[in-house]
Symmetry: C2
Subunit: 241 residues, 2 copies
């Protein structure tokens, strides 16, 4: 999907498929090679990595100028801190904010609840919403009665990885609901034997929410679009220097 | 106060007083000198800096191995991210968690409200509470009706810099209240003409809260203690290598 999207917009993408048994040092050497290549403006290490490889170590080796995924801790630190600007925002969180803004939903002063606290979505999207002046609550697996908090939210970002966890009755009337979950559930009526559902019960949510994104087709394509945007911004920065 | 505390516990502290007009480059050169000095295990640049100096730039120059304040964006990024460990935690937030733990207050699953979102306190303490499995809400100057959220909190961290903003009626019975505010208010009865008060109306809060820290004398000394602890940990890390 990312490859196809690159092709469509005219970004040259290079796939480097390494065998699963690749030594960590070899993977890191490849990252260094791409760091040094002036024709490369963005590097994405596809996660998850095999167990024998230290994910943190590998991600930290990506030059922050080319960290189009925005997962480098230096980028996350700058994202968290007031008055600092990361070079890249993580793609899915950036896509969530873009979806809200393009839909004319104001964030400032609104109550936002983020469900989930992953490094990839929950945590960075909560930091972004805070920078946009929302009043932000992060609920997670240890939260008692998440529904009571979700029910008060003007904006809900669902990123827990729990199929259809969020019911229609949990949603405040008129709220904006961004469903980041992508969960495979058994479905005997499908040829594949499964279908994808979000963290939100979409059919129920539609009757209550002001806005709700579908799964698939909602946040997913936005994430890809933001990855392309990050890559373009990275290239512009290099060319502008 | 920091100097005195160092002396009491046997940490050698060196003061480098630079004139207010010091050029940025000279300050950075001094930081580099301390970075390179193997006898120095912690560097603290006293904030705020004069206006002609870029605070971000200077703080980023401190070697993260000696960043005992914990304000380097790489440290903040690692503090924010699940599964990552910063080399140092910012002192005041670390002190808040220490106060809770030493008082036997469980954090896991509890509702915590952080009032304020500064880089120094509000933001990092909210990230720490999240890592401790609290359900965390950050309220700030753009929040409408902060009292309704504070009233539901088992743990309140007040770090807004607003004298006695939080009234007794805003506090849930039995809650733990950590008051980080240190505000000078006019007081004609004092020789100095002012007195220090927190962000919490202490006299009122005492009647409702289960725990409440005083200002002065609560969080302040803990911050100093954590700075010493960070310095000791930094030294141990170097010696252990």
């Amino acid at each position: 999907m990312k490859r196809k999207a690159c092709c469509e917009v005219g970004i040259k993408s290079i796939d480097i498929d390494l065998p699963e048994q690749v030594p960590e040092a070899e993977l890191i050497a490849k990252v260094h090679e791409l760091n040094a290549d002036p024709n490369v403006h963005g590097i994405l290490v596809q996660l998850p990595l095999p167990k024998h490889i230290n994910e943190e170590k590998v991600l930290t080796e990506i030059s922050i100028d080319k960290d189009v995924d925005g997962f480098h801790p230096l980028n996350i630190g700058k994202l968290a801190m007031k008055g600092r600007e990361p070079l890249f925002l993580p793609c899915t969180p950036k896509g969530c904010i873009e979806l809200l803004k393009r839909s004319g939903i104001s964030i400032k002063g609104k109550r936002a609840v983020v469900v989930g606290r992953s490094n990839i979505v929950g945590l960075p999207v909560s930091l972004l919403l805070l920078k946009e002046d929302a009043t932000v609550t992060v609920v997670h697996s240890r939260t008692e009665e998440p529904e009571s908090m979700i029910r008060e939210a003007d904006i809900v970002i669902a990123a827990a990885g729990q199929p259809m966890m969020i019911k229609g009755s949990w949603i405040k009337s008129g709220a904006a609901v961004i469903d980041v979950g992508t969960n495979a559930v058994d479905d005997a009526t499908r040829k594949s034997g499964y279908r994808l559902v979000g963290d939100v019960d979409f059919d129920q949510a539609c009757k209550v929410a002001g806005w709700v994104t579908p799964v698939p087709g909602g946040v997913g394509p936005m994430t890809v679009a933001m990855l392309l945007k990050n890559t373009l911004e990275g290239a512009k920065r290099v060319i502008g220097q």
